[in-house]
């Protein structure tokens, strides 16, 4: 039960169980195909994910966050985050520990979110796969438009994060917090 201490992890397993129960009852042939596809993906992904987690778990210890966090402050923070996230490995088990390290080092939420969006959307390091399957033009269009969109959303979120009026919370005479 220690493995299931986070409620969200239990939720993922319950969804998987529910989906397969649904498939087994209504579409048994598809359930078999789904299981085969899942096992095929496990064969392809389990070892790389495990190695990625070994790498990601350690790199956070080595990078000096107080030095690297300076790049993510000030007016160019969103742009720096977008560029950095774009060149991070797209595998979240490697990039997320790095990004979490920046977050723990005091980098603000809009910058962190821009970095995460860039990591999952731009994925410059996946250029080999794109070139092999689609060719240069489609890869260039994908990276160009994805980066532009990341910057638009990143700046927009940054604007809303700092410009929206903050909720004022007062402490009443009996000690409870009340929103105004």
């Amino acid at each position: 039960m220690k493995l299931l201490k986070k409620w969200e992890q239990s939720f993922m397993l319950f969804i998987a169980a529910g989906l397969y129960l649904f498939l087994l009852v209504f579409y048994p042939a598809r359930a078999h195909a789904a299981l085969e596809r899942s096992f095929h993906e496990m064969e392809n992904l389990l070892l790389p994910i495990t190695l990625a987690m070994f790498f990601g778990g350690s790199i956070n210890l080595v990078i000096k966050n107080n030095v690297s966090c300076k790049f993510f402050q000030g007016k160019r923070s969103i742009l720096s985050a977008g560029i950095t996230g774009s060149i991070f490995p797209p595998c979240p088990f490697i990039s997320y520990p790095l990004i979490k390290g920046f977050h723990n080092g005091g980098v603000k939420l809009p910058v962190i979110m821009t970095m995460i969006i860039a990591t999952t959307l731009v994925e410059i390091t996946q250029v080999f796969a794109g070139l092999a399957v689609f060719g240069t033009k489609i890869v260039a269009l994908r990276i160009g438009f994805a980066f532009t969109a990341t910057m638009i959303v990143g700046f927009m979120f940054n604007f809303l994060y700092y410009r929206l009026p903050a909720r004022k919370v007062t402490v009443s005479s009996n000690g409870s917090a009340e929103d105004q």
């Binding site: 392809n44 797209p90 969109a149 979120f157």
Partner: protein, 219 residues
């Protein structure tokens, strides 16, 4: 006497730093050489025969494995304490998230089987207009994040009748809500960050796809 001890200590520090630099240099050379080998001449690791399926299809992952191996080698040779601490943190993360990853991969397999192919092709065709953009991003979000699995599938849709706008929308959206990515959000952050990331990255994928659609570019 005190001066001699201070000189000896600083000499030891310099020797230690020099040793670290030399080991680091050798590890970087080894990383670059082996990465080049797995990315170009031995791309796909065919010499491993049937065992290569356990390392995945993505050469970028093979290169990352090389980087991880040399990185830990560097840590072991320069700071055993840090290597042990890193391995301990990583092992605890793996133990805590193993069932989550298995659940995520099971969900991914089932989700793809629930969507009929002919329906997808009709939804993403040129005749669908701007709806193909929204449909493409939505479908792409639940596809696997690994491009060596997803890109051939998307290319097959493109060749099977999906329009350029719908295809690019799928590319922009691919893997955003893949079960493994969501499980990584939960493991490393929390459900609030996960929800925020999903909304913002979906929005960014939509913005990218709409910008491309209205630019009039069509290959």
């Amino acid at each position: 006497m005190i001066t001699n001890k201070t000189d000896s200590a600083s000499n030891n520090n310099l020797a230690g730093k020099r040793r670290k630099h030399i080991i680091g240099f050798i590890c970087v050379l080894g990383t670059l050489l082996l990465s080049w080998l797995v990315l170009f001449p031995y791309r796909g690791l065919k010499f491993l025969g049937s065992y290569r399926i356990y390392l995945g299809k993505n050469p970028a992952i093979h290169a990352l494995i090389v980087v991880a191996v040399f990185y830990y080698l560097y840590l072991i040779l320069t700071s055993r304490e840090q290597a042990t601490k890193s391995a301990d943190i990583s092992w605890r993360t793996i133990k805590g998230s193993f069932l989550n990853i298995i659940g995520a991969l099971l969900i991914a397999g089932a989700a793809l089987e629930l969507i009929p192919t002919s329906y997808l092709t009709a939804l993403l065709g040129e005749q669908a207009g701007i709806r193909a953009v929204f449909a493409g991003v939505s479908i792409g979000t639940v596809m696997p994040a690994c491009p060596f699995i997803t890109y051939p599938v998307i290319a097959a849709f493109y060749g099977g009748g999906a329009g350029f706008a719908g295809t690019m929308a799928m590319l922009f959206g691919s893997g955003l809500a893949f079960a493994c990515t969501i499980s990584a959000d939960i493991i490393h952050f929390d459900s609030k960050i996960m929800s925020l990331r999903l909304v913002l990255s979906f929005l960014a994928a939509l913005v990218a796809a709409l910008l491309l659609y209205f630019s009039g570019i069509n290959l």
